[in-house]
C-alpha cells in the first residue's frame, strides 16, 4: 500500500466537493474491493474519500417499486423478508455472494462496481494486462483462463465481471441514480457497464467524480417466480463459474414474459434478451428451456481452460428456468 490522503464525506455534496480531478481519487464504501486492491498495489489512489457517513442507506419498498440506497449493506438488503418473498432472485443473488462477514461490510454500489477477479489483473507482477496497464497485452489470453468470460469479451480482455447482485439488477430493468459535479441523473443499469472492446480499462459510463446514490426498479407480482442459481467450485464463499438470474411471468401455462441474466460467464452484467424472446408464448419444458439456453450461448467464444463454460452455462440456464417454472407463483 502507498500513502494516501483520507477524508470523510458527510453528504453527497461534500463527497463530490472533496473529489480532485487532478489526483487519483477513490470513494471508499465497505472497502472490501478497494482496500484489497490497494494492498495488492493494483490501484494507487492518492486520495480516498470515505462515503460511509453520507447516508444513502435506506430501503424503500412500495406496492410497485423498490429503491435501494447505494450504501445499503448487502446483508441488510438480503435480510428483507418482504423482498425475499416478492423478488427472491434479488435477495438470493446477495445471499449467495462472498461470505457473511464480507456482506456485513460490503455495500450495494460497491458490489456492482467491484473489479474483476482475473488473477493477472490482481497481481502486479504480471506485466501484460490491458485493464491494469492499457496497451500492455493480456496474459490471460494464452494463460490460465478457466474463470474467464465467454460472452462480451474482446481480443484485448477476457476478464469476467464478477458480481452476482448485478445480474438481478439487469434482469429487473433497474435504473441507477447518480450524482456528480454536473448534477444528478438516472440511467438504466444496463447502461452502467461497458464491454471491454479495445479499452478494457474503461469499465463504466460514470464520470470519475460521479457517485451512485441508489438503485430503483419496478416490482411486479409475477416476480415472485424468480430465482438466482449459482454454480461454483464449492458451496459457499466462492464466485460463480456460471449463474443465472431468471424471472418468469406465466399465463395459462405459456410464458408471457421472461427475464434471464447471466453471471460468471460474461465481461459485463449480461442480459440474454434473445433467449428471453424465444420463450415468449411457449410452454416451459425441457425442449423450450434447452432452446433458450442454446440461444443464450450461441455467440460464446471459449478459450483453452474455459471451454466448459458454454455447456455449463446452458445447463445452468435450463436448470434455472425449469426450477422457476416449478415454483409456486
Amino acid at each position: 500500500m502507498r500513502p494516501f490522503i483520507f477524508e470523510r464525506a458527510t453528504s453527497p455534496e461534500s463527497a463530490i466537493a472533496a473529489f480532485h480531478a487532478d489526483r487519483a481519487t477513490s470513494f471508499l464504501a465497505g472497502g472490501t474491493t478497494l482496500l484489497d486492491l490497494m494492498k495488492l498495489d493494483v490501484v494507487r489512489p492518492e486520495r480516498v474519500i470515505d462515503i460511509n457517513a453520507l447516508g444513502a442507506n435506506e430501503i424503500e419498498i412500495s406496492e410497485d417499486r423498490l429503491r435501494l440506497g447505494a450504501s445499503v449493506r448487502m446483508a441488510d438488503a438480503e435480510a428483507q423478508e418482504e423482498l425475499r418473498r416478492r423478488v427472491p432472485m434479488l435477495t438470493q443473488s446477495l445471499a449467495l455472494a462472498a461470505s457473511t462477514q464480507l456482506r456485513h461490510m460490503a455495500t450495494l454500489a460497491g458490489n456492482v462496481l467491484q473489479r474483476t477477479r482475473c488473477p493477472y489483473f490482481r497481481d502486479v507482477s504480471w506485466s501484460a494486462c490491458n485493464k491494469r496497464l492499457p496497451g500492455s497485452g493480456c496474459a490471460a489470453m494464452a494463460g490460465f483462463n478457466r474463470q474467464h468470460a465467454v460472452l462480451g469479451a474482446s481480443d484485448a480482455c477476457i476478464a469476467t465481471y464478477p458480481s452476482d447482485f448485478a445480474q438481478a439488477l439487469i434482469a429487473l430493468d433497474a435504473t441507477v441514480d447518480v450524482v456528480g459535479r454536473r448534477g444528478r441523473r438516472q440511467l438504466p443499469f444496463a447502461k452502467l457497464h461497458v464491454p471491454p472492446g479495445r479499452t478494457p480499462e474503461v469499465e463504466t459510463t460514470l464520470a470519475p467524480d460521479e457517485l451512485i446514490l441508489g438503485f430503483e426498479m419496478p416490482i411486479e407480482p409475477w416476480m415472485s417466480r424468480s430465482l438466482y442459481l449459482k454454480i461454483r467450485d464449492r458451496d459457499s464463499y466462492e464466485f460463480a463459474l456460471a449463474s443465472a438470474a431468471v424471472a418468469l411471468e406465466v399465463d395459462g401455462g405459456a410464458v408471457r414474459q421472461a427475464r434471464i441474466a447471466l453471471g460468471g460467464v460474461a465481461a459485463v452484467p449480461w442480459r440474454a434478451r434473445e433467449a428471453e424472446q424465444a420463450l415468449i408464448g411457449r410452454v416451459l419444458d425441457e425442449a423450450s428451456c434447452q432452446l433458450a439456453a442454446d440461444i443464450a450461448f450461441a455467440k460464446a467464444q471459449p478459450r483453452e481452460h474455459n471451454a466448459y463454460k458454454p455447456l455449463l452455462g446452458r445447463q445452468t440456464v435450463a436448470r434455472a428456468l425449469l426450477q422457476a417454472a416449478a415454483m409456486e407463483a
Binding site: R117, G143, D235, Y237, L311
Partner: protein
Amino acid sequence: MAIIGPVQQKNMGPPHSRIDGRAKVTGAAPYASDFAVGRPAYAYFVTSSIARGRITGFDMAAAGQVPGLLDILTYETMRGAVKKPTFFAGGGYAGTTIRPLDGPEIFHDGQIVAVVLADSYESAREAAYKVKVTCQAEQPAATFGSAGATTEDAADAKGHEDPAVGDIAAGLAAASATVDADYATPTQHHNPIELFTTTCAWTGDKLTVYEPSQIVHGLKHGVAEQLGIPPDHVRIVSPFVGGAFGSKASVTPRTALAAIAARCLGRPVKLVLTREQGFSVATYRAETRHHLRLGADADGKFTALSHEAWEVTSRPDSYLVAGTDTTARLYACPNVFTKVHLVHVDRNTPGFMRSPPEVPYLFPLECAIDEVAEKLGLDPIELRRRNDTMKEPIGGLPYTSRSLMECFDQAAESFGWARRSAAPASMRDGDWLIGWGCASTCYPTALAPATARVILWKDGRVKVETAAHDLGTGAYTALAQVAAERLGVPVGQVTIALGDSDLPPSPVAGGSITTASVSSVIAKACDAIRAKLGVNDSALIDPGIRVAGFERLGVALVQEYAEFAPHGAKPEGIDKLYAGLSTLKGGAMLEDRIQYAFGAEFVEVRIHARTREIRVPRVHGAFAAGRIVNPKTAHSQLMGGLIWGVSSALHEATEMDLGTARYINDNFADYLVPVNADIEDVSVILVPERDTQVNPLGIKGLGELGNVGTNAAVANAVYHATGRRIRELPIRLEKLLA
C-alpha cells in the same frame, strides 16, 4: 452434522481437552511473531516475477525516497553472505540449496531478489513495491511435458531402491481382470493459517530466532550453517505453531536473511511473508504422474502390480517421496514392479506435505482396485479382504499389527454400505446423482530418537521439558497425559515446555512420529523417577507412595533426563538428534518387520445431473493406530484429515501459468479449500488395536493417517455416481460435463 464423539475404548487413554486450548482461544498463547523484541526493524521481500533467467539491474531511486527506509539488500552486496546449505532430504537442514541473494541467477518464480528494511512494515512494503528489477528472462520449464524438463531415474539420483518381486509380465498374463491406466495428482501448497514469520534478535554474537518450526534443533543447526556461526550461538523459540503440515519442517532461505539484516542494522528484525510469498519461499507438494497396472485372478487374488511414477522437483535439488515403498507392500501380490522418476523443472524445491508419499501414491492404487473389483463383479471391500495380508510381499516381513479389515467392517457398518446398489449411476435423489465409494488408508509407523527431562516435586507437580513441537495437533495435551499417568498425578499438575532449542532435543514433528517417540522418552524418564522413589514397574503410584518415597530420599524434587532410541535405530541416533537431525525408523524401513497404521474411508458424493457440481454430504472413516493416548485429539486429527482428503480430491490445486512457470492462485481467495458448507457429516471411528512391538507404549502415529486414500474414495464415489472414471485430480465439474 453427526459426529461420533470420541469415547474411551480398549487400549485408549481418556479423552482430554487441550490443556493449551484456553490460552489459544484467548490469544494468550504466543506465536513466533507475537514475541516483543525492542524496537524492531521490518523486512519485506521483493521476489522474482520470472522463473528462469538473470537479473540485469535494480532501480532503487523511487524506493530510496520512502520515509523510514533503512536499507535494501541484494546479491550485489550480499553475495556469499549466506553459506551453502545442506539439503534436508540429503541428511541436512535446508528445504532448498538455492542460496538467497547469492547471484543474479533466477531459478524459480517468487525467488527472493531483495530484502527491504524499514522502520515500519508499511514503509518496507511501500519501498518494496517501488523497487524495480530488470531481468533477462529465459524460457522456463513449468512441469511434466514442458520443453526443457529433464527426467532421471530416482534410483540414480537418490539411491532410491525400487521395491520389486516376482515376474510382472507373467503376473499380468495370469490375470483374469486387469487395469492399465494413467493417473495424475496436482501441485498443492500447505497454506497453514499462520504465515511464515521470522524475528531475529542478536545479543552480542548470540542469535535468538522466533520462528514457527517443526524442528527447532534442526532450524538451530541449519541457521548456524547458513550464517557460518557455531550452533550453540543460536536459539530457536517456537512454543506454538499455527499449522505447518510439513511446510515448517525444513530451513527456508528467509531465516538467514533476517538474521543478517538484524546484524547489519544492529537491531532486531521482524519478517512476515505474505500468503503469496509463502508459495515460493517455502516448499509444496509436487504434482505427480502414475502409470499403474494391476491384475487379479478370477478369485480376486492379485497376480501383478506395476506402479511407475514421475515426480516434479527443482533444477538443483532432488526431492523425492517415492510412495511405491508403501504401494508395493500394501496387499498380498506375488509379482510387483515399481519405478520412480524425478523430473527437474524451473520451480522452487518441493518438500514434505502431510502424508507426502501416501497421498499421491495411494490414489492410483486405490482407484485401480475399485476398477478391478468392478471387472470381477466383486465388492471392493471383498477384493481388499481377499488380498489382505499379515506379510508384506516384497521381503516377506511380518506386519506388527494390521487392522485394515476391522476398519473396513466398522466403517462400512456405520456408513450403511450394505444398502449400496453396485451399478454405476444407479442411485439418485431427484436431480442429484448419488455415489458411494471407499478406499484404504495407511501410514507408516515410524519413530525417531528423542530426549526429555522430567521433574517431579514432592507436592505432585510435574514439569516435562523436551524440544518437541505442537503444531496444533494436541501434543501438549497427549504428552502431559503420558507423564500424568506414569507419575500418578492429575493432568492439571503437569506443565510441558516444548518448542525451544534450549530444551533437550526431540525429533521433527513430521512423519506422525511425535506422540510415539516423545511419549516413549517421557515414559522412560518417568520410570527412572519411579525407580528412585522405589515404585516397581507395574505398580500404581499414588500421593501416599510418592510422599513416602520423597521422605525416604530426603529431597524436594526428583529430576531425570532420558534418551530413547526406537527399534532398529543406529547407535549414533542420539548424537544426530543433538545435531538437529532426526533419524526415522519404522514403516517399511526395518529389516525384521513392517509397521503401519491402517484405516478405511467411505465417501458419499452428490452430483447434480445437469450442472455437475460435486458435493460431499458424508465421509466416514475408521482407523486403528495402536494405543490411542487421547481419543479426543486423535479424533480431531482424523476428522481434519478426512476433510483434507476431500479437499485434495475436489478443491486443492495450485494452478500454474505454463508458459512462464508461475503460480496463479497463490492466495486464499483462489486456492480453494472446503468451507463449512461443503462438509456435513464427518464420522471418525477409532478401532481398538493393541501392538506390543512398535514401541513399549504400543503407540502408532495417526496425524497423517486420515487424509490418505480419501482422494481415491471420492474418485470411486464419483464413478459410482456417474459411470465416469476421473483419474486426474482435482475432480472439478468440467470433467463431468458433456
